[in-house]
């Protein structure tokens, strides 16, 4: 009797706190990184119905349904998780639960119209596992399949919605050595196929050989107002991406970019951002002989916009560590914070992600420096609502943390 009463109370309080916090939430004494490259400042943040209303030095007299005293802890916009298959890949090697790629469809065509968003599952366990670590959005990728063009995706927000996509349509193109080796036998073959496919966009007739009519429409639309993410690591490949994009009037983004520092000036003058893994410092292939830890720092110094990706989906939460290592190797702290918060939204055309009036209240209160491995997200806030901070993994911990298992762990149901 008493036990069930306890659970009922807990349920009610959970519900009420949920709704109350959705109205007016006040965070005081935050050490706030607003999401650009400015240093942290002592600020209070007032949130009204999911939107940031005021950010100011002292809002302590303002009434709110819920007040959180951050006690000097760092507050940031919720983070970008990198280019992932979150919600597309439940378990890496359980292929029937992986929906991020197109394979074995031997039509001979490239299929830019292949859209991974159709397969996105916000109920995947990966989403809360990632969200409780301070991440609220990601760029959904069409993983390498067996074509030069993998398909399309866009930003997705980890708010539980089935249709929480944002920003520009992003087409994924592979021009590196390993995919070159699979498709047509060389990277030169890649460029030949790509060039031919894009030439078909300018031809009026429907006698297409490399893309279908819907693929043609997809590419045309993406050329108008979408983005092309090229996977390329070798300096010469990156250089070719710039040339190709100029010729076909595309907005390119480099993904990988291990040798991007060698063509930093060209990237800067073309205004092309690089999404990189700042931990890459080994010549994993002949495309990455120039991989080095200060790649991000060198690019930033040259005026190139740098974003991060870890190449991980399940462990996308590692991206803070990636950014921290970039800082440890010379990137300015502000640039790393911007790259983890507002910049990806800006680059990929999503809603602005800063702690500023009028913007959505997606924020995190951190136990310490958000770019260091010795800190964690204390509280994630999405749309002004306090996240439950629960995931399948926190449940497993709660089941196995008690030293006394009683009748067995199966009876410990958090």
């Amino acid at each position: 009797m008493r036990a069930s009463h306890f659970w009922l109370c807990l349920l009610i309080s959970a519900l009420t706190s949920h709704w109350a916090s959705a109205d007016r939430l006040l965070i005081i004494n935050g050490n706030v990184l607003i999401g650009d490259d400015r240093p942290a400042a002592q600020l209070d943040i007032l949130v009204d119905r999911g939107q940031i209303e005021t950010v100011a030095e002292d809002l302590k007299s303002v009434e709110a349904d819920r007040v959180i005293d951050a006690q000097g802890r760092i507050v940031t916009p919720a983070l970008f998780a990198g280019i992932t298959a979150a919600g597309l890949s439940e378990i890496g090697m359980v292929y029937e639960a992986v929906d991020s790629r197109l394979n074995d469809l031997y039509t001979g065509l490239m299929h830019p119209e292949f859209d991974v968003r159709k397969a996105y599952n916000p109920l995947s366990s990966v989403i809360p596992v990632t969200r409780v670590e301070g991440y609220s959005y990601s760029l959904l990728m069409a993983s390498f399949g067996d074509r030069t063009i993998s398909g399309q995706g866009s930003l997705v927000r980890f708010d539980g919605g089935f249709d929480s996509f944002e920003g520009k349509t992003t087409i994924y193109v592979n021009v590196d050595g390993s995919s070159g080796n699979k498709i047509g036998g060389s990277r030169a073959a890649h460029w030949m196929l790509l060039d031919s496919a894009f030439e078909e966009l300018s031809v009026d007739d429907d006698d297409l050989t490399l893309i279908s009519a819907s693929g043609k429409a997809t590419l045309k639309a993406a050329r108008r107002d979408g983005l092309f993410v090229f996977r390329a690591n070798r300096a010469s490949d990156i250089y070719q991406v710039l040339r190709f994009s100029r010729k076909h009037k595309l907005s390119p983004i480099i993904s990988g970019g291990q040798e991007a520092w060698m063509v930093a000036e060209e990237l800067a003058s073309a205004g092309v951002p690089v999404v990189l893994n700042a931990l890459d410092n080994l010549p994993g292939s002949f495309d990455g002989l120039g991989a080095r830890l200060d790649n991000a720092a060198l690019l930033h110094e040259a005026g190139v916009t740098v974003l991060f990706t870890s190449g991980e989906t399940h462990n996308a939460r590692k991206l803070r560590q990636v950014a921290g290592n970039a800082v440890a190797n010379g990137l300015s702290y502000g640039a790393a914070v911007a790259a983890m918060t507002s910049l990806p939204a800006e680059i990929f055309g999503g809603k602005p992600r800063m702690i500023a009036p009028g913007l959505r209240a997606d924020m995190v209160i951190w136990s310490g420096d958000p770019l260091d491995v010795n800190s964690a997200a204390d509280q994630v806030i999405i749309d002004g609502v306090l996240d439950s901070m629960r995931s399948r993994q926190t449940q497993l911990l709660e089941r196995y943390l008690p030293e006394d298992a009683g009748l067995g762990r199966a009876y410990i149901n958090p």
């Binding site: 378990i91 990966v126 080994l282 002989l289 491995v373 911990l397 196995y400 943390l401």
Partner: protein, 469 residues
């Protein structure tokens, strides 16, 4: 007559010993080391202690003292104020050299995936000493590491423990007198690789049947050798008595040694405990099955590797004295890794006698074992366990040395141990921490920012010169 007998016995004895002989021996010899004094550092000893503002003295390649003591006149004094000192880091699970960079197909030498039992292969015969991953790991503070075969097979072969020193041969890196490891694998990988070829094993029960069959053969092999060695011993005793010399000589000549078998050499070595068993195993239930099997055949499992569910059986592991070599946060890449939690390492560390080890299995992770340990420490502390740095550092030093059977020689800063030492720019439990100096046997092998002490592999030499000309 007795002289001939003694000769014969010696000859046979040599043949017998050869079966377990020191093949491919280490040629590593530490160069002469100057006496070094690291002054005024925060020192984590690796065995649970912390000293603040303390001095560490190394002499003749060995740890001499922490605190106060005599120093030689030619001592090099390093100001370590505001710096931290730890033992050299040890990675118990690496594939450097056998899956080197660049990862081209012709470099893929880590899995002899042609039969489920390949205990006869030795990882060292695949190690490419020019893997640029070795010097990168050195810059991350790694002074010793075990190179293991992959996990495609039930018995993948022998692992080798190396000193992380540049050399043209693996023999020049081989950790003197370190025991060999035997790599075994549970679960998905072997059954996928062989089941996919409609070959045994294709199930977990097939896995266990095949391990047991192999152990039975190894037991028989060991028994044959024991019987033979006993006969040689008896003959020696009889010869010493100088009684029935002639008949003993003829008995010896007809009693030929068992035929040597490379696969069973390794398996029998594991049964005897000379070779340490390193078992790739993710699921809690499978690890318990393996512990029962070890009991059946009378051997010890030294370390479970990966063990993403080790936290579910932390007490069992501690009771059996088995280490868990684990990742800080990997999960979900296959279904046997679905229940991974970030508190795994801290929970395996919790019981009395728990032996938690942070391993990399990665050419990236091995460069940042301190960061991996930091994440694990953080999660333990957030779960309410109290884990200070002097405790967590054991996961990448002494516990790792224990897992490799080299804890009497390295892994902590005890007097007399090898002077394998890292000087850090700050508290190592941070993303901003970097090794400033790395000593192996008291010899400065790496120094941050010093081009003379940043070794580079042959492979990387002269690359990308086109860009500068």
């Amino acid at each position: 007559m007795p002289a001939l007998l003694v000769f014969l016995i010696t000859l046979l004895g040599c043949t017998a010993a050869q079966a377990q002989s020191d093949a491919f021996p280490s040629t590593y010899a530490a160069p002469p080391a100057q006496p070094i004094l690291l002054r005024n550092a925060t020192i984590l000893t690796g065995d649970g202690m912390r000293f603040d503002g303390a001095d560490l003295y190394m002499e003749e390649g060995r740890i001499s003292w922490i605190g106060e003591g005599d120093t030689a006149p030619d001592t090099v004094v390093v100001d370590a104020s505001n710096r931290w000192v730890t033992p050299g880091l040890i990675d118990v699970h690496s594939h450097l050299g056998v899956y080197p960079s660049p990862g081209v197909a012709a470099h893929s030498d880590g899995n002899e995936a042609t039969a489920p039992v390949t205990a006869e292969v030795w990882a060292e015969h695949s190690v490419w000493p020019q893997d640029p991953g070795f010097p990168r790991a050195l810059a991350g503070g790694v002074t010793a590491l075990q190179i293991l075969p992959g996990s495609a097979n039930l018995f993948g072969g022998r692992g080798v423990t190396l000193k992380n020193v540049p050399s043209t041969s693996y023999q020049g890196m081989k950790f003197p007198d370190a025991p060999y490891g035997l790599k075994m694998a549970c679960g998905e990988n072997p059954k996928r690789v062989y089941g996919g070829r409609t070959q045994s094993p294709s199930t977990r029960m097939g896995n266990v049947a095949a391990y047991r069959s192999a152990w039975i053969r190894a037991q028989r092999y060991q028994a044959d050798w024991d019987r033979y060695n006993k006969a040689v011993e008896d003959a020696a005793e009889a010869a010493a008595d100088d009684g029935s010399g002639a008949s003993v000589a003829s008995a010896l000549l007809t009693n030929t040694p068992p035929r040597r078998n490379l696969e069973l050499d390794t398996l029998a070595g594991a049964l005897r405990g000379d070779i340490l068993v390193h078992m790739h195993c993710y699921r809690a239930d499978e690890m318990l099955t393996i512990l029962d099997m070890a009991k059946e055949f009378g051997y010890r499992v030294g370390t479970f590797h990966h063990g993403v569910e080790a936290y579910k059986i932390a007490d069992d592991l501690a009771d059996h004295g088995v280490c868990g070599a684990l990742w800080a946060d990997w999960w979900g890449f296959k279904i046997e890794a679905y229940d991974g939690i970030q508190e795994n390492i801290a929970l395996v560390d919790r019981p009395e006698g728990g032996c938690a080890v942070v391993h990399s299995d990665s050419d990236e992770g091995i460069q940042r074992l301190n960061q991996e340990a930091t994440k694990a420490m953080l999660r333990g502390n957030r779960a309410g366990l109290s884990i200070p740095p002097e405790r967590a550092i054991r996961w990448i030093t002494l516990n790792a040395a224990k897992s490799l059977g080299i804890d009497d020689q390295t892994g902590s800063l005890s007097t007399g141990k090898m002077a394998d030492v890292v000087l850090w720019n700050q508290d190592p439990f941070s993303v901003y921490a970097k090794p400033l100096q790395v000593y192996i046997d008291g010899v400065l092998r790496y120094e941050r920012g010093n081009p003379d002490l940043n070794p580079q592999s042959d492979f990387e030499l002269g690359q990308l010169l086109g860009a500068t000309q």
